[in-house]
Structure formats: C-alpha cells, structure tokens
C-alpha cells in the first residue's frame, strides 16, 4: 500500500473501468468476467449446441479392426480366384478374428451391454447404426463358416464330391464375406458422416473413402507383415498409400473454417494429420524404396491414429457451439 499514486496507473484503471463499462469485457490481458453483465461467449454461455459423442476408445479401434477385417475378405476372395490358397486362408483368418473382435468392442461400448442383441431387433435402412449391425452380423455369419470350409478343403479332410462341395461352399461364403466386407469397411464413414457433429457431417463424402482405403491398406499391410510378400499385395499397398496421400491434400484444401476446425487444430488435428502422413506419403516413400515391412507398419500406425483422431475431433467439434453455428450459416 502506498499513497504515492501515479497519474499513469490511475489513468489505466479509469481506462479499464471505461472499457468494462462499454463492452462488458476487458480486452488484452484482462479477463472476461464470468457472469459479468453481458456474456460474450458464442451461443448460450458457450454451452454446446449439439451433444458430443458418448463413445469411448472402443469405437475408433472398432473402425480400424472392422475395416481391416472387411477388406481382408475381399483380398481372400481375389486370392482364391487367382489360386493363392495360403494367402486366402491367412486373409480369412484376419477377417474372422476381426469379426469376433468387432462385436466385443461394440458391446463393451454399449451403455447396457447385456441388451446387445436388441441391435438385431429391427432393421432400419435409414439408421447406419442398424445397417452396420446387420452388415457385421451377416459378415461374421459368412466369414466364420467360410474359413472353416476353406480350412477343411485346404487340409483335404474330405475327398471326392464331398471335398468339391466343401470348396463350393467356401467359395460362396467367402464371396458373401467379401461382399459384406467392402461395406463393413466403408459404412463406418456413413455412420459418423450422417450425424449432427459438424466436423463429421461436413466430410461425409470423404469419410467412407478414407475409412475404406485405410481398411484396404491395413489388410494388405498386415498380410505382408505375416509373410505374404507378393506383388499383388505390394500393388494394393501402393494404391492405398497413394490414395491416402491424395486424401490428405483433399482434407487440407476442403476447409470449412470454424465449422471443422477440430480437424486441423489441437490434438485431434495432429492425430488426423499424423495419420494421413504415415499412411500416405511416408508409406508411399518407404514402398518406393522397397522397405515394405516398414511401409506396412507405417500404414497400419497411420490408419489407427487417424481413426482415433476422427473420434476425438467429433468430441471437440460437438462441444464447440461456434462450429455448429458456422456450419449452419
């Protein structure tokens, strides 16, 4: 305490008082007084306008696992058609492991896991969650028996017409797995693209392409890491990394300012960008230099963190009233 008041500091206080009186807020290094006369936060006291997703880590991990499993089934079908029996078996194992892990992950995330069977109570084509639950169920129902039939055929357990019948059954079931698998890997983009979360619905065309490509590249990469170093998988790896590189450029160009800033800012922005870089240009360069295992690891890592990034971006975007308002202007 001092009574040596300087005219300058008094002037500053007067200035602050005037500023506070006129604007209801003191700028610069001052503070926006909580509960001050006139709130300056966007919307209603900065409260979220839509609700952020309640989903936890299981859902983005499911996007990764389900995408990989679905696309593995397509690789299995093509491998079968072009007489790569070992590759087809390995790919079907991936599909089946994914088909077992996926419902476990999804059920863990449910608010009431014991009611998980209610997912199959009705079929609603307008609900991507309902369509997805059915896709996953039928995919599992095809892939499981398909793998068993394929293994029975591969181990020559039966002979003659019975073996031929088993082989036809395997073909049909794997065809079914592949057909559903390609939607299992892409519907997840529709699932989050058709919501009220601005960062998601603004990129509803981008998301299925990204998730599908990431699933395809992941399946090829994991099969390569399991020892199937063959030219077709390398070609698929090249294709997926090239598409991911292009998608990265697309995402950087297709910006919606405040409406989708969660994709470019903060932790979610770094996860998405990192994901695209590792599964795009880095994987591409590693493949060009023939470092295939490193390229595969890079792609898988990118595909996983990108999914985590998109989930986190949904949470941040849903809590951001300015993003919601900006998306509706």
């Amino acid at each position: 305490m001092t009574d040596q008041t300087s005219p300058a500091s008094e002037q500053r206080l007067d200035q602050l008082r005037e500023q506070a009186w006129n604007k209801g807020v003191v700028g610069g290094r001052g503070v926006d007084v909580r509960g001050g006369p006139i709130p300056r936060k966007p919307g209603y006291y900065g409260q979220p306008i839509v609700k952020p997703p309640v989903w936890t880590w299981e859902i983005p991990v499911y996007f990764f696992v389900g995408g990989l499993a679905g696309m593995a089934a397509i690789i299995a079908l093509a491998a079968l058609a072009f007489h790569h029996l070992d590759l087809a078996r390995a790919a079907m194992w991936l599909a089946v492991i994914g088909a077992i892990l996926s419902p476990i992950l999804l059920t863990m995330d449910l608010g009431r896991p014991r009611l998980f069977m209610n997912m199959l109570r009705v079929f609603k084509y307008k609900s991507p969650m309902s369509v997805g639950a059915w896709i996953l169920t039928v995919f599992g129902a095809c892939a499981g028996p398909g793998l068993i039939a394929l293994e029975v055929h591969a181990h020559q357990i039966f002979s003659g017409t019975l073996d031929q019948f088993v082989r036809v059954a395997a073909d049909l079931l794997i065809f079914g797995s592949a057909f559903l698998g390609m939607f299992l890997a892409t519907y997840t983009g529709v699932l989050i693209g058709a919501t009220a979360i601005p960062a998601w619905f603004l990129h509803r065309v981008f998301l299925p392409i990204h998730f599908g490509t990431a699933g395809l590249g992941s399946a090829a990469a994991l099969l390569e890491l399991l020892g199937h170093r063959i030219a077709p998988l390398n070609a698929i790896g090249f294709f997926a990394a090239a598409v991911e590189s292009a998608l990265w450029v697309w995402l950087e160009i297709d910006r919606h300012d405040a409406a989708d800033r969660a994709l470019h800012e903060a932790g979610s922005g770094w996860l998405i960008r990192g994901g695209e870089v590792f599964s795009g240009p880095v994987a591409l360069l590693l493949r060009l230099t023939n470092l295939i295992p490193l390229a595969a690891i890079s792609f898988l890592f990118g595909a996983l963190i990108s999914r985590l990034g998109w989930a986190l971006a949904g949470s941040i975007s849903g809590c951001d009233p300015e993003a919601v308002l900006a998306s509706q202007r």
Binding site: R34, G35, P37, I38, P39, G43, Y44, Y45, Q47, I49, V50, K51, P52, V54, M71, I74, L77, A78, A79, A81, F82, H84, D109, G111, L115, N118, M119, R121, K124, K126, S127, P128, M129, A133, A178, M182, F183, T186, V190, A194, T195, R204, F206, L207, P208, I209, G212, L216, A231, P232, N234, A235, I236, F239, G314, G318, P321, V324, L325, Q328
Partner: protein, 302 residues
C-alpha cells in the same frame, strides 16, 4: 390461458392420446418468471436424478443444459437490448410511486439497454426426429400424440441418438445414476397423457409460460402472441419453429426475443438423415472401386 382457471388447457383433463390428436408445448419467455417450477415438477414426477449442485456463474442458470437427467432447463439470458416498452436503466430520482407510471412516459431509449430473458427449454419433439431415425433398436418411437418417446427397457445405450439430435437434447445417462447406460430425454409425460393428465411442467407453470394443448391451437396462439408483442414494442419477437428445414417443425416450439443463437438454438437444424444419400453414395463407390482395384492387382501382378 391465464384466467381460465381449471378450464385452461394446462389444467383440464383431456383425451388426446385416445383421440390421436397432435399435441405440443408453446413456451413464451415474455411471461416466464424464471421460477424453475417446471424443472422441479419434471424431476419429481419422472423421478429423474439431480444435476449436481454447482454454481455456474451464468446468471441464475445453475442447470446448464438439457441432458439425460435434465429434461426441462430454464435459460437465463442477459442481453444488451431493451425488452419491449419496459422501464430500463437507472431509476435515479424516481420515487416508487413515479416508477409505476406508464412505460411511455419514461425514457424509452435508455443509455444502458438491458434485458433479462427466461425461457424453459425442453425436447422439441421434432416432426422429423433425428434420434428416432438413428435408433437401431427401435427403442425410440412416435406416440399417438406426435411426441417422440424413448422406451427405456428396449434401449441398449448405443449412443447413436446422442450425435443425431440437432438440438443436443438426448444423452446417455452415466453410472452410477439409476438406470445408467440408457438414453434419456423428455417423455412429454406420455404416462400422464395416457391418463388424460397434462405434462407435469405445464401443469405447474404459474404464469402459463409453458402452454400444453393441441398443436394446431398452439401454433395459432403463438402467431397471435408474436403479432401482439411486435405491436407492443417487442420488435425482435419471433417464433422458433423451423418448418422449412428437414426437421419440418417442432411439437415443442418457442417464442424467442432476438436470434436463436443466443438461446443455444441452431438457426437451421437438420436431421442427419439428409446426409445419408451422399455418404452412402461415397461408401458404395468406394466399395466397388476397392473390389476392382484388388482384382486388378491380382490380375496384373499375380
């Protein structure tokens, strides 16, 4: 209407459910006194857990937002605008008697315009409801009176309705609350309505800021009220009932002063179903392209 006593649609018994008549809530902030009786009545009747006892610092609003355990929420807006012809600004020099003179005799253009607006927010019971479309279990249904109802015993808590509501109304109730894990929101007191009773919030509203009744009657009443208010100097009074967007109108609609943004209401709410066509087109194109690429890879490199 106020003054109708037990003849008011908020107090008399009805048979809307049996007669399959569309009903609604009309909420009018210009008569709301911010008493929060609607919040209390809703909690008591529906046995909804408390929202926690915390101070928000946001005017008199300590409820925050609608959610799994908050089905009525009274908003308290502080705005630097005048509210109709009300007396505003300093009362300096005026004795209590002179303060009661007609508003037109006081200075209508006060230097420090300020208004305090209260409005009770609730589930909008959309004509086209995002939550209902999204629900994979069929737990969310449309009732005979046009309201949107979550069947608690069917809901498995997948959480898809939460991100599908353009108003951020429905939410999943976290543990350790009772009935945790399921999605909850306003039921429009469907249980009471089936017995001919009025929803609890409307029943207790002391100023009939919340009016329950036939939707067509309420829409006419809302339009009249806006006209009346605009003639009385409430220039920015308007109805919030987005019928031109994919939501196609609300069963619980609002009169608001000023822009919807200030109330945390989206100016152009859309149900996510409208995004399905472009998203599925992209998904199907990707799926087919992937199939072709994989076969081409095996054909040319295999």
């Amino acid at each position: 209407m106020i003054g109708e006593g037990i003849e008011s649609t908020n107090q008399r018994r009805h048979s809307y459910v049996g007669d399959r008549i569309e009903v609604g809530f009309f909420t009018d902030p210009t008569v709301c006194i911010g008493c929060k009786a609607c919040e209390v009545a809703c909690k008591e009747w529906n046995q909804v857990p408390d929202d926690g006892f915390t101070w928000s610092g946001n005017s008199y609003d300590h409820t925050g937002h609608l959610g799994a355990s908050t089905w009525r929420h009274v908003l308290f807006l502080e705005q630097d605008r005048r509210k109709g012809d009300q007396i505003t600004g300093s009362m300096g020099g005026l004795s209590p008697q002179s303060a009661t003179v007609s508003p037109t005799q006081t200075n209508p253009q006060s230097d420090d315009p300020f208004r305090w607006v209260f409005v009770s927010d609730v589930c909008k019971h959309c004509e086209e409801a995002g939550c209902l479309e999204a629900c994979p279990t069929g737990s969310i249904v449309r009732t005979e009176v046009g309201s949107v109802l979550v069947q608690n015993d069917v809901c498995n808590g997948c959480g898809y309705c939460v991100v599908s509501c353009p108003f951020g109304v429905i939410d999943r109730r976290p543990a350790p609350l009772a009935d945790a894990g399921g999605a909850f929101k306003c039921t429009f007191c469907y249980d009471r309505q089936k017995s001919g009773l009025v929803p609890a919030c409307a029943k207790v509203c002391p100023t009939e800021s919340i009016v329950f009744g036939r939707l067509d009657d309420l829409r006419a009443r809302g339009a009249d009220r806006v006209q009346h208010l605009q003639q009385s100097g409430y220039d920015d009074a308007q109805l919030y009932d987005p019928q031109e967007t994919s939501v196609r109108g609300l069963h619980a609609f609002f009169l608001i002063l000023g822009e919807p943004e200030a109330y945390g209401l989206p100016p152009k709410p859309q149900i996510p179903t409208i995004y399905l066509k472009s998203a599925w087109t992209s998904a199907i194109a990707t799926a087919v392209a992937t199939l072709i690429v994989v076969f081409a890879a095996f054909f040319f490199f295999g």
